[in-house]
């Protein structure tokens, strides 16, 4: 069953169309990757799916309902976003930040109850941040903070999770750990995942389907085998690459070829 439908979405910040006639559907429990070069409209598309930006033409349907007609706090009950690392000026504790994920369920006034503390504890357990629950968020390393933001998204108990280059600043171990965790939630809990990423190999490894954006237009959408091809990547990224099969997984693998490689 489709959970997100994008119907002929067109969006502009004022001059040219940043997104032009974007139509696709995402099924419940799907893991979709959005790839494309800088400025191709990936982050804008994520913001439109979350209702932070409203398209000038076309519409986004969540569970069949137009996102324009859904209240902000009801969207937040369904969709969680894990952003890139964002600085927080006042020193909230890790637990306080994760607890913010309960906000859409609690409204403006209600204090957190036992179930909320239990949900937050679980989210921190899964992301392995329980040991520093009472530390200030500003004392943590980049990788630890990113896990806090994931825990906050989990505490929202969403049906859909949007990842906006969430692992851009993580080292390779934490990148894989992060995607393993998301994949497990995707498989076991039926969480729908949409991730924007620059790492095509990571997308190939984890995504059921990949959407390739070029200048605000869908260049291709389909399984990694269908979309991550040498001709597609060369054409869209204008980069010299070789695409072959990963000998372990059999999935498409992108290798950069430099014009002046080191000897």
């Amino acid at each position: 069953m489709s959970i997100i439908e994008s119907e002929h979405v067109k969006f502009t910040y004022g001059d040219a169309w940043v997104l032009n006639d974007i139509s696709f559907t995402t099924c419940e429990g799907e893991f979709l990757g959005i790839i494309g070069p800088n400025g191709s409209g990936k982050t804008t598309l994520i913001k439109i799916i979350d209702g932070l930006l409203m398209p000038q033409q076309g519409s986004i349907l969540i569970d069949g309902q137009n996102i324009r007609t859904i209240r902000r706090d009801d969207i937040a009950k369904q969709i969680a976003v894990v952003p890139q690392d964002s600085p927080i000026i006042f020193s909230f504790t890790v637990q306080e930040v994760v607890m913010m994920g309960r906000a859409p369920h609690l409204g403006r006034l209600r204090f957190e109850g036992k179930t909320d503390f239990e949900i937050v504890r679980k989210a921190m357990e899964i992301t392995d941040i329980l040991p520093f629950a009472s530390r200030s968020i500003n004392e943590l390393s980049g990788g630890e903070r990113q896990r806090v933001l994931i825990a906050r998204a989990l505490a929202q108990q969403p049906q859909i999770i949007l990842l906006d280059e969430s692992t851009a600043f993580l080292d390779i171990k934490h990148q894989v750990d992060f995607f393993d965790l998301i994949k497990a939630l995707n498989k076991e809990a039926g969480l729908t995942v949409i991730t924007v990423t620059h790492d095509i190999n990571l997308a190939s490894l984890f995504c059921d389907r990949v959407l390739l954006l070029r200048d605000g237009i869908i260049h291709g959408i389909g399984t990694p085998h269908e979309v991550i091809t040498e001709s597609n990547i060369k054409e869209v990224y204008e980069a010299n690459v070789m695409v072959d099969r990963n000998p372990v997984t059999g999935l498409p693998r992108v290798t950069l070829l430099a014009s002046h490689p080191a000897d």
Binding site: R72, D73, A76, A80, S86, F90, M100, S134, Q156
Partner: protein, 341 residues
């Protein structure tokens, strides 16, 4: 320091302690002053003196306690609470720990209104000077909103810069007005500019406290959205907050609370900057605890400062803003140093 989670019982407990501290400080403040009243005698007078037949204190002592010092202490508390709560809001909305209630230029606008009122002799009319000062505050808020709002959005940085410019512009007008004013008005103007709590009356207190309590309840009902906005406006939206609506309501509430306090008491500096910082260091940044704690501690602080202001120099009285700045500035530098080291 171990950081405890903010729960309703913790919020209530801490704030009951603050209420007790305020009452204790207020009682001591009432019994202190140039006219000496014995401690026990004064305490009894405070408890029973409002009975017609009570004879433990003389009629003049009764006047001093109930018509001069008690209203003044309550008024100082109201103003301190307003400025501190407004400081918390502006620091959170502008995501700038150096923001204070006057940052949008409200103090400048009020001052222009008040000085005009003093010069044209509105002092004898009830609510004349504060009324004009409040009008100045409202005009300023409207200006900042009109200039700071574009694309149907409030831009924090634009508002902040607008406030700075408006304050600079009003300073020029204030200088101009002072330079053309009569010598007899200068003392009044100076006291107003430095903060003056001596003009408290019961009518003013009732008026200000009703509006302030309503404003504070409205502000407190947005404590959780404020927590989320502090972590970033986009994050707050992703977590379900209607950010634009929340910002408009809180900017207006904070501005009006500030305008109200300034109009009746003049420009008392540093309270709204420093109290939120001290409370945040003690209790963390959660506004469900931070707002009421700042409100109550701000009240206590200004009562202490005002007590010092009216007793430290014999046969004379200092503007309370002198005391708050003298205590506030060095303490703030100490805080800044302690954070970085």
């Amino acid at each position: 320091m171990e950081k405890l989670p903010v729960t309703m019982s913790r919020v209530i407990k801490i704030n009951l302690l603050f209420v007790a501290a305020f009452v204790a400080v207020a009682v001591v403040s009432i019994l202190v002053g140039p006219a000496k009243i014995g401690f026990l005698q004064g305490l009894k007078g405070l408890l029973y003196g409002w009975h017609e037949g009570y004879t433990g204190i003389t009629p003049s002592e009764k006047t001093i306690i109930f018509s001069i010092r008690l209203p003044r202490v309550i008024f100082a508390g109201l103003v301190g609470a307003s400025l501190s709560a407004a400081g918390v809001i502006f620091q959170a909305l502008l995501r700038n720990p150096l923001a204070d209630p006057y940052i949008l230029g409200i103090s400048g606008g009020s001052a222009v209104g008040a000085i005009i009122g003093i010069i044209i002799g509105l002092g004898s009319i009830p609510f004349g000077i504060p009324g004009l000062a409040f009008l100045g505050a409202v005009v300023t808020v409207v200006l900042v909103f009109v200039i700071g709002r574009s694309d149907k959005e409030l831009h924090s940085n634009t508002m902040l810069l607008t406030g700075v410019i408006i304050n600079a512009f009003f300073s020029a007008i204030i200088m101009f007005l002072i330079s053309i004013s009569r010598n007899t008005d200068l003392h009044t103007i100076t006291f107003w500019l430095m903060g003056d709590l001596s003009l408290a009356t019961w009518v003013k207190i009732i008026f200000v406290s009703i509006l302030l309590v309503c404003g504070f309840i409205l502000i407190y009902s947005y404590a959780r959205p404020l927590n989320l906005i502090v972590t970033g406006e986009e994050t707050a939206m992703q977590l379900g907050v209607d950010v634009e609506k929340t910002k408009i309501i809180l900017f207006l509430a904070g501005s009006l609370v500030t305008g109200l306090a300034v109009s009746f008491s003049g420009i008392i500096g540093f309270v709204g900057l420093i109290i939120p910082h001290i409370m945040r260091m003690l209790f963390g940044p959660d506004h469900r605890l931070l707002l009421p704690a700042s409100f109550l501690f701000g009240a206590t602080f200004l009562v202490v400062a005002d007590t010092i202001a009216r007793t430290v120099v014999p046969h004379s009285e200092l503007p309370v803003g002198v005391i708050t700045a003298m205590c506030g500035a060095p303490y703030f530098i100490y805080l800044l140093r302690r954070r970085t080291v």
